[in-house]
């Protein structure tokens, strides 16, 4: 825990960021939060990493603390277990709102390299976890086709997936810096 008190000027806050978050249906409910800590106190990730605090994150979002939120490494810690959202007495959409903040981060070019890799796997193979030799052996031993009847077996289907990912601009999002442009 940090023992220094940071001060923020209101001019550092971004009302536009708050508005952007509110594009997600239900995200505006963070304004109803009365700080009861029901969400953060039950969070299994906070139990492991106290710096990750969903309640504090949503408070920061409501204030428009864009830079702090988007650049926080803890933005990527939530497992989306939905325990917090289930518990909130005010109907705050804790997880859906957090995912919207992540989306804004990604569209600002902030993404973990490991997540980018998963995105690339989906773009290239249509699977986040593609087949490997070890599993091919296991499939054979069980009497299944070596390669499953998914996009892995149907090149046309993989082309369809690539096409929609391209239309949605996803290939740009997960491209390495030098490949962009």
């Amino acid at each position: 825990m940090s023992d220094t008190i940071k001060t923020f000027k209101t001019s550092d806050l971004s009302p536009e960021f708050r508005e952007e978050i509110f594009e997600e249906p239900g995200a505006e409910k963070i304004t109803l939060c009365f700080n009861c800590t029901g969400c953060s106190s039950g969070c299994p990730m906070a139990e492991q990493e106290p710096e990750f605090n969903i309640r504090k994150f949503l408070r920061m979002a409501n204030l428009g603390m864009k830079d702090e939120l988007l650049n926080s490494p803890y933005l990527w810690y939530c497992t989306t277990c939905y325990k917090c959202q289930e518990r909130c007495p005010q109907g705050v959409k804790n997880v859906d709102t957090l995912l919207k903040i992540r989306t804004i981060a990604v569209h600002n070019g902030i993404m973990l390299p490991a997540h980018k890799k998963v995105g690339q796997l989906v773009f290239n193979f249509g699977h986040a976890v593609p087949i490997n030799d070890d599993t091919k052996e296991k499939r054979k031993a069980l009497g299944l086709d070596e390669v499953p009847p998914t996009v892995h077996s149907f090149p046309d289907a993989l082309d369809e997936v690539k096409k929609i990912l391209h239309i949605a601009g996803f290939d740009e999002i997960v491209a390495e810096e030098e490949e962009k442009k």
Partner: protein, 297 residues
């Protein structure tokens, strides 16, 4: 005979094919016809994709659903992550006409159209709600005498508003299905706790998520069970591969066998552990398999 299209996802076919074959075997015995959903892709993985870009998530998920619509069947998933992704996308598109129009513009480019005619089902809730515990009990030929730690996982029950499966804090439907095989569902501390894998967290902060699953394994061991039974290949991977990672990184060895419900039910229907791929986990299950042969059933 009911018929469903079988959506495989990524982790079952590409890491734990035992779950795929077990599902086919048990559903056949229960008179549910499964037809492979050919050409399906990643659901896509909700944690990572919902985080990245909603349009991408929706268009990929809806493509998978339209494949099922084109077959005229409801879609069956065996994974909580796929269920979370597909059931939410399906409901969202059925409810929101404008969103549906946007997504259909993208799908049009690849010759599909989302119509909203089919439902997305998860094997556990389908077995409970459509097949029923009684019918499953009747299909059991070799009751299994095992003590089981049931792991529901998160996205099977949450968010509840969109699941209609009763209490998320204290559900019982999965335990009832487990007990239908002759096994005993043993209560353990913090039973509904998350395995840690979801939301892209396993990819982002593996070690922290391993501490989370390690807590779960401690509680399971303390309850003195023979195995864990789950409903999701991704939880399965975190619980099984996670044990090998915990051993390597933190030097702690658990050796807990992890089964998907389809594999437990398969045992109770008389299939051998090898036919169900129970020997193909990353944790060595040989002692457990010996035990089953020696009369746990």
């Amino acid at each position: 005979m009911s018929k469903l299209s079988f959506f495989l996802g990524c982790i079952a076919p590409n890491r734990y094919p035992g779950i795929e074959i077990s599902t086919k075997k048990v559903m056949e015995k229960l008179d549910v016809e499964l037809e492979d959903l050919e050409g399906a892709s990643c659901c896509p993985a909700p944690g990572v994709f919902k985080s990245f870009d909603k349009t991408t998530w929706l268009s990929m998920a809806s493509r998978n659903i339209t494949l099922s619509e084109e077959m005229g069947d409801d879609l069956l998933t065996i994974c909580n992550g796929c269920f979370g992704s597909l059931v939410d996308a399906n409901l969202m598109l059925k409810k929101d006409a404008a969103l549906k129009e946007d997504v259909n513009k993208i799908l049009f480019e690849i010759g599909h159209e989302f119509k909203g005619t089919q439902d997305v089902r998860h094997i556990i809730e389908y077995l409970y709600q459509e097949v029923g515990v009684e019918k499953i009990k009747k299909a059991v030929t070799t009751p299994i005498d095992l003590k089981v730690a049931v792991h529901y996982g998160c996205h099977l029950v949450k968010p509840t508003r969109e699941r209609h499966l009763g209490s998320a804090e204290n559900p019982t439907f999965f335990d009832e299905l487990v007990e239908a095989t002759g096994a005993t569902s043993v209560d353990y501390e913090d039973k509904m706790a998350c395995c840690g894998a979801g939301g892209g967290a396993r990819t982002a902060v593996l070690d922290t998520t391993l501490h989370m699953v390690s807590n779960k394994l401690d509680h399971v061991i303390a309850a003195g069970v023979d195995c864990i039974v789950d409903a999701c290949p991704f939880c399965h991977l975190q619980l099984d591969v996670g044990q090998t990672e915990i051993k390597k990184k933190f030097g702690k060895e658990y050796g807990v066998p992890v089964l998907h419900y389809s594999q437990l039910l398969g045992l109770a229907m008389g299939f051998t552990p090898e036919e169900l791929g129970i020997d193909l986990n990353f944790v060595d299950n040989s002692k457990f398999i010996e035990r089953i042969r020696g009369g746990a059933k």
